[in-house]
Symmetry: C2
């Protein structure tokens, strides 16, 4: 293939040489040098206003757009952030929880607003550290990871290696990395207190306390119980993962075997839905027999039957917080973890007043 350097406007040899338009082409056509084109296109004051105008119009009319790869290489600059969603390799099950996906959407908006691009990928939840690849390879200036999963340790190591990293999740003791998340202790507390207010005393807790966020929510749960002079009963705690395909059987078995509870705190709305179904299947009614509180306040929570009382997470704000935390880190600010307020959204699965 002859490497033609001629203008793409003049294809030669009949072959429709579809070389991408570049600055040199604009320059030639405008009768100026590439530097002038570069300056003009970047709105530099150095170049004559009239020339600038002319070059800009020419570029626009030719539908020219800059080669960002080259620009970034030259400027040693990069406006891409990697967003990584872990998945469970064991069950080959992808994280499909609407909550995580909403967070991704929120981040997409926040990045776009600030002129950054978003590289989205998945990573085995057992090897969160693989996420650093995006930074190491220079494809991204930093990483936003959705969820801590079981690998607080790996995250600490990544932070220690100076990887620009922000994690959606809860704040844990001795945490080296920057996390942004809802106030999980408060969430667990509000949910449980509300159920206690309804007069319920045997309150189950469904969620995998190996996950930092769930662990924190459980603290709120325990605290609320103890405020009411009650103790957490291990028989009422069920370690169910977020993944519905795995959780379904676990929750079903629990509801079959354990009838001695009159309320339940679920650590996600999806788990709440599963639990409602399991309860229906054993003939127990929500909220009459069992009052139920979910977590996340996903859009669909309002549309199930009964509509879900749930802890509202600040999804809309989450993206901006995560992105700001990352950019702050890149500016060299030494920002700690951030915890965002949550509140209880009252609906029928655990209403204000029992019917």
């Amino acid at each position: 293939m002859a490497k033609s350097k001629s203008s793409p406007q003049a294809p030669e040899g009949g072959a429709t040489e579809q070389r991408r338009l570049q600055m040199v082409d604009i320059a030639r056509l405008a009768g100026v040098s590439v530097s002038t084109v570069s300056r003009a296109l970047n709105g530099s004051e150095l170049v004559n206003a009239e020339t600038r105008q002319r070059v800009a119009e020419l570029a626009r009319s030719l539908n020219y757009s800059i080669n960002f790869g080259a620009r970034n290489l030259r400027l040693q600059e990069n406006k891409t952030v990697a967003v990584v969603v872990p998945f469970d390799a064991k069950s080959r099950q992808h994280i499909s929880d609407p909550f995580f996906l909403s967070i991704v959407g929120s981040i997409a908006d926040a990045l776009t607003d600030r002129g950054y691009d978003m590289l989205l990928s998945r990573v085995d939840a057992e090897h969160l550290d693989l996420a650093s690849h995006w930074f190491d390879s220079g494809k991204a200036i930093g990483v936003i990871l959705i969820g801590q999963w079981r690998h607080h340790d790996q995250l600490n190591e990544m932070a220690a290696r100076k990887l620009p990293l922000v994690v959606w999740g809860g704040e844990m003791p001795q945490q080296l990395y920057c996390s942004v998340g809802g106030d999980n202790v408060l969430g667990g507390l509000l949910a449980t207190r509300h159920l206690l207010t309804l007069g319920r005393k045997r309150i189950a807790f469904i969620g995998d306390a190996q996950l930092p966020e769930v662990w924190l929510r459980r603290q709120g749960y325990v605290q609320a119980l103890s405020e009411a002079g009650l103790q957490a009963d291990p028989a009422l705690e069920l370690a169910a993962p977020f993944e519905p395909s795995v959780a379904t059987a676990i929750v079903r078995d629990f509801c079959v075997a354990q009838r001695d509870f009159d309320a339940v705190v679920c650590c996600s709305d999806v788990l709440a839905l599963l639990t409602m179904q399991a309860l229906r299947n054993v003939g127990r009614s929500v909220p009459r027999d069992v009052a139920l509180v979910g977590y996340d306040d996903m859009p669909l929570a309002a549309y199930c039957d009964p509509p879900l009382t749930t802890v509202h997470q600040p999804v809309a704000e989450a993206g901006a917080e995560l992105v700001e935390a990352l950019l702050g880190q890149l500016r060299g600010e030494r920002a700690g973890p951030r915890t965002m307020p949550v509140y209880l959204k009252l609906r029928q699965s655990a209403p204000d007043v029992l019917p």
Copy 2:
């Protein structure tokens, strides 16, 4: 700031010069030239096996990873695909339908499997053509767009401009771009036929027929009705958008005003959920008074009450199909639209036999 070119292993002046490791560093440390390092790292047969080994190990131990920006610039190569999710600018409402997000996940997997990166962004659904920006700027080699929305025309123009583009959606007459989607006519047909089998004759249709996919589903709906000697009744058709925040009121009003139907086909599971709630609110029972079929078979469809009978869309396979279609296009293949099979997933909202 002095632009030190010395090895990062030997920071000077006390400042912890955090320059990224690059080939020249590996070369110096290995006592070879950059070319050799480049060749070694790319597994070239030209370089001595022993040297190759040594260089590779050195690079690994130093945690070196290549600068892809530079590599791509040199090779005129790019392994990034833009995935674009439209949003409704009018309602400032982001597409949060679990279905679209599942498709994104599926694409993420397919791209990763093939060694491509995924750039995710949103675009105003009224200006789908803005999606071409990713290609024009060289940031991506092509675009995968999730949904056609109302702008079939814009998509045709983009394709005419030779933009490598694949769209998730239905196949329309005179379509210039490549679409991949479920068999919408079949979906509408299966859903409606099933309801007719149950003996229902007044079947409503909920969905915005301005959208190609819905339009096609409606064709299946009409066809099934005519097979049964029935005609579509405009009074039973409701143009509701996918966005729950907008659709809720529309569906509610419809269910209040219109009682003369005994079944309904909804064009998404989310719409189905809304509709079930609206029906409950007017005291009509599903499936006894109104049998209901959703569309998509999202993971949560099995967990609502009653569980949703719905048209299953091939989400898991969708990613691979979309990606293959795009890569095929880039290889110069002239592939047409692809339609994937769908099937009806029977659950309780429109069971096999009415209770």
